[in-house]
């Protein structure tokens, strides 16, 4: 699927299979939250982000209202993606909101800012995906912090 934010003029493409996979993995942890890292790369004009894969955390804590992941033991996987052709790298993070909407909580916003501004993160604008779901439906929210403001992407086609 392709998503875009018209105001900033940037878009995201994410493979439907990957989306399905993330939802599947996330729901397995019900009623707890869960999440991971997003892998991908940019289009030649740097206007589109392709999200291609996920890396799941080795160590994490999770409850119905909290998901804390560590970065221990994932280095090798990041290196492997980086050596691929085309090169793939860390582009953001995802996590679930069981029984809730994909709207960033205050804790999410704090984490999004920390990550965006972290010196260890090479890219300027990591993407944050929240998967909100309940028994009936699942909703995705893709967010970016761009020039200090949070923007949400909207679906343009499937």
């Amino acid at each position: 699927m392709i998503l875009t934010n018209i105001e900033i003029g940037l878009s995201i493409e994410i493979d439907d299979k990957l989306v399905g996979n993330l939802i599947y993995i996330g729901k397995k942890h019900y009623p707890n939250e869960f999440g991971g890292f997003l892998i991908g790369n940019y289009s030649d004009d740097f206007k589109k982000l392709n999200i291609t894969d996920t890396i799941l955390p080795n160590r994490y804590k999770s409850t119905p209202f909290l998901f804390e992941r560590e970065n221990i033991g994932v280095d090798e996987q990041f290196e492997k993606f980086y050596k691929e052709n085309p090169q793939k790298f860390y582009v953001g993070e995802w996590h679930t909101h069981p029984n809730n909407l994909p709207i960033p909580s205050n804790m999410d916003i704090k984490a999004m800012n920390n990550i965006t501004n972290s010196k260890e993160v090479a890219i300027q604008n990591p993407i944050f995906l929240i998967i909100g779901y309940n028994k009936i439906k699942t909703e995705l929210g893709f967010y970016i912090i761009f020039k200090n403001k949070i923007y949400k992407y909207e679906t343009v086609n499937k």
């Binding site: 018209i6 890292f37 740097f46 970065n71 860390y90 993070e93 804790m107 260890e120 090479a122």
Partner: protein
């Protein structure tokens, strides 16, 4: 729902928002000038009002012409006060009031206040036209005003006191016409003003272009797409302005002929310019961009396109440790 259509409308509305932001700046400044005049000339002035393009719904988005009419009472400047004294007094007042924040200068019948560019590089310009009612309290009945002509203006000499006009009627006429003829007249007027803006200090008044467009619609069958319509109006102007019989009656005062605001040679220039536009565009469609350019301001915004970027030189990242989401 058609998605693309929707997106198109989203983009357009964003542009309107930008336009509106600038328009609000004009409105604020406009109110400031209006209030200052009313306060300073308390008792000697009727309510100042706007007669400019904005009120006429023909504003071009880069620059709104805000014309503010200051209608003075007959004896505002004494029983023997002249129109020149009125003009000079208003100039002196505005100059003192705004000299630190704007360029204040004398123009044909108005005083221009061009505020210095603000932090967003927007320039707001308000033209104040002082006018005086013909007889005591007559303005309330007929809305007529005598204006002072500062610089040479067509066949009226500088310093003359002859122009007399019912500005309110001018506004009403264009407003009514524009709404009944759908958008065509308005669009053509906009285009002609865009073209006029490409010329430096062009003698043809915007009001002249507005009236002649309306006259063209009165006298010609104007149909087809927007270019067909514009072309017909350009041809009409080219053919008509140089004719001896050419008149252009002011809707605000039928004894005032706008045709007289241009000299014979200025009319020939206008006609030649129309011919040039038509010929050059006939030769090459691309030339339409020269005569009717897009709004550079919006283009700049488009140029300054956002991109995903990296902070340094590489992309490789090990994500920061221990982040908590809720």
């Amino acid at each position: 729902m058609n998605k693309s259509e929707h997106l198109d409308s989203v983009i357009k509305t964003h542009q309107i928002t930008k336009e509106e932001k600038l328009l609000n700046k004009f409105r604020e400044r406009n109110k400031e000038v209006k209030d200052d005049l009313f306060e300073h000339y308390k008792g000697s002035i009727y309510n100042p009002f706007n007669s400019g393009s904005y009120a006429k719904n023909t504003a071009i988005n880069t620059k709104f012409d805000f014309d503010l009419i200051a209608p003075f009472k007959r004896y505002a400047f004494g029983t023997k006060g002249t129109l020149k004294e009125m003009y000079e007094d208003v100039y002196d007042f505005l100059y003192e009031k705004y000299k630190d924040v704007a360029k204040v200068k004398k123009q044909k019948v108005s005083i221009g206040i061009e505020f210095y560019a603000d932090s967003e590089n927007d320039i707001v310009k308000i033209d104040v036209t002082p006018g005086r009612e013909l007889n005591e309290k007559q303005y309330i009945e007929d809305s007529k005003l005598n204006l002072y002509v500062y610089s040479r203006y067509g066949k009226f000499d500088a310093g003359s006191e002859r122009i007399q006009t019912n500005i309110q009627a001018q506004i009403d006429s264009i407003r009514n016409r524009a709404t009944t003829e759908k958008d065509s007249i308005r669009k053509i007027i906009r285009l002609l003003k865009v073209w006029k803006k490409t010329k430096f200090d062009y003698p043809t008044k915007s009001y002249f272009l507005e009236l002649i467009t309306i006259k063209a619609f009165d006298n010609k069958t104007i149909a087809g797409n927007l270019w067909d319509k514009l072309k017909t109006v350009l041809e009409y102007i080219k053919d008509e302005v140089t004719k001896d019989s050419f008149t252009l009656k002011d809707k605000g005062n039928s004894s005032n002929d706008l045709a007289d605001t241009l000299t014979e040679s200025e009319k020939r220039t206008l006609s030649n310019d129309m011919k040039n536009i038509l010929d050059r565009i006939e030769e090459n469609d691309e030339n339409i961009k020269t005569y009717f350019p897009e709004n550079a301001k919006f283009k700049e915004d488009k140029k300054e396109e956002n991109k995903y970027q990296v902070k340094g030189s590489g992309f490789f990242t090990i994500p920061p440790k221990n982040e908590r989401f809720g």
